[in-house]
Amino acid sequence: MKKRQIIQSIQRNVDKLTPDVYQYVANAPVQKLPFHDAITAQPKQDQTDSKRKISPVLRLAPVFALLALVLFSFTMWKQLMTVTGVVGLDVNPSIQIDVNRFDRVIDVKPLNNDAIPIIHGIAYKQVKLEYVVRSLVGSMYYHGYLQDPESAILISVESRDAKKAAFLEKQVSIEISELVSLDVSQVYSQIIPIEQIDKRSEEYGVSFGVLNLARMAHEKYPEYSMEELFSLPVSVLYEIAHSEPGTYKPDLDTPEDCGGIDNPCKINLPLIMSPDGMEMPQATTTPTSPIYYDDDEWDDD
């Protein structure tokens, strides 16, 4: 028997069986109730109203909760993924580290070919900046950099927040000074105000830190071209950029076919005249032979 047949059968049944009680119920004497009794009681109006008023709110509560969760997640994700500070490391490899407001690393970018093997294999996503710096310095050591007592490292920091920039600069400087067996004076650092950031670093193929130093040096010594300044070792460039104008002899004599690790530029550095008349030694970024270090030395404890 089909469903429709069952329904029709029920309809026929009830149609035939429903008694006609109208005459009796319409004519029977009834006493009007002064108020509802237990049988005729209606649900209270205010209860019904409150149900009507509250239920849409309650019904929407999970939606609001979900929206709040999504908004919170999005805000957190945005904070995690928004760059609030940039740290540049220049030895010969040039590396740029983007950090978020929690000082966790969002990205590590190689800015020249020498930097590519340095960052290879380093896990940095959302890792604390100090750990990433340790890994990078360790990797530089592993690849033969920072072995020379006269090698230098430039730390450049930029952030819209001056306090943040100062904090990052200090943190990275301390971290590197502790790690590298160099004279502390050869760890150079600079904070670059946001308005001085030169967006042409990619165009020149140098880091924003080196570009900033070269720009400063070029302003003092216009006779040096930017390209000539880029080819200088970090330590020398730093000294020139921070020198008093006129204390250097503009006698750069840079061979044209130099550059890179295999063929470093053997340039005649300008004489740096210290206040006591001593000439500063020439620095180079040429790495010495790679020395394999103990991995445990760089482990985070």
């Binding site: 028997m1 469903k3 069952i6 329904i7 059968s9 029920i10 309809q11 026929r12 049944n13 009830v14 149609d15 035939k16 069986l17 429903t18 008694p19 006609d20 009680v21 109208y22 009796y24 119920v25 319409a26 029977a28 009834v30 006493q31 009007k32 109730l33 108020f35 509802h36 009794d37 237990a38 049988i39 005729t40 009681a41 209606q42 649900p43 109006q45 019904t48």
Partner: protein, 163 residues
């Protein structure tokens, strides 16, 4: 309700669905008839107290349900006992043909109160399931599941009986 025409109009509109509802509650023709009459009398006695809330049928069904419960208590019986007592076949033999009698007998005897009431209301009154859920103050999902379960149960019983 003094207005006879209004009462007549109400009666004509609700008599069959109200009887179907009460029959679903008590599963007994005579008892359903008694409660039907009492329900109308209660409506007449309390109509002036009715506060319109948009669902007059819900109020009428509430009266019928309360009266049915009172009947159960007075007769010291529970619904299941009343179902076992009823001899539907004998009651309806003079009114219905063979097939319809079997359907009604099994509807009243084999289905539970919710299943009976929902199927009867839907079949007789043409109320939507959403309306039935409002009148019976049950979730729509419950009304739908009880309806489908009841129909399936009835089909199975009737198929077995036919075999």
């Amino acid at each position: 309700m003094d207005d006879e025409e209004a009462f007549l109009e109400l009666y004509q509109n609700i008599n069959q669905p109200l009887f179907a509802f009460i029959l679903g509650l008590v599963a007994d023709f005579h008892e359903a008839q008694d409660i039907l009459q009492e329900t109308y009398l209660k409506i007449r006695s309390a109509a002036h107290l009715y506060q319109p809330q948009g669902k007059p049928m819900a109020w009428i069904f509430t009266i019928a349900r309360n009266l049915a419960r009172m009947h159960f208590r007075q007769s010291q019986r529970v619904a299941d006992e009343s179902i076992e007592d009823v001899d539907a076949e004998a009651l309806f033999s003079s009114e219905l043909d063979q097939q319809d009698r079997i359907v009604m007998k099994n509807l009243l005897e084999k289905l539970d109160e919710d299943e009976r009431t929902i199927i009867l209301l839907h079949a007789v009154s043409g109320y939507k399931h959403r309306e039935i859920s409002q009148y019976l103050e049950k979730p729509l999902s419950t009304v739908l599941s009880r309806y489908n379960r009841g129909i399936k149960k009835l089909r199975k019983i009737l198929e077995q009986a036919a075999a």
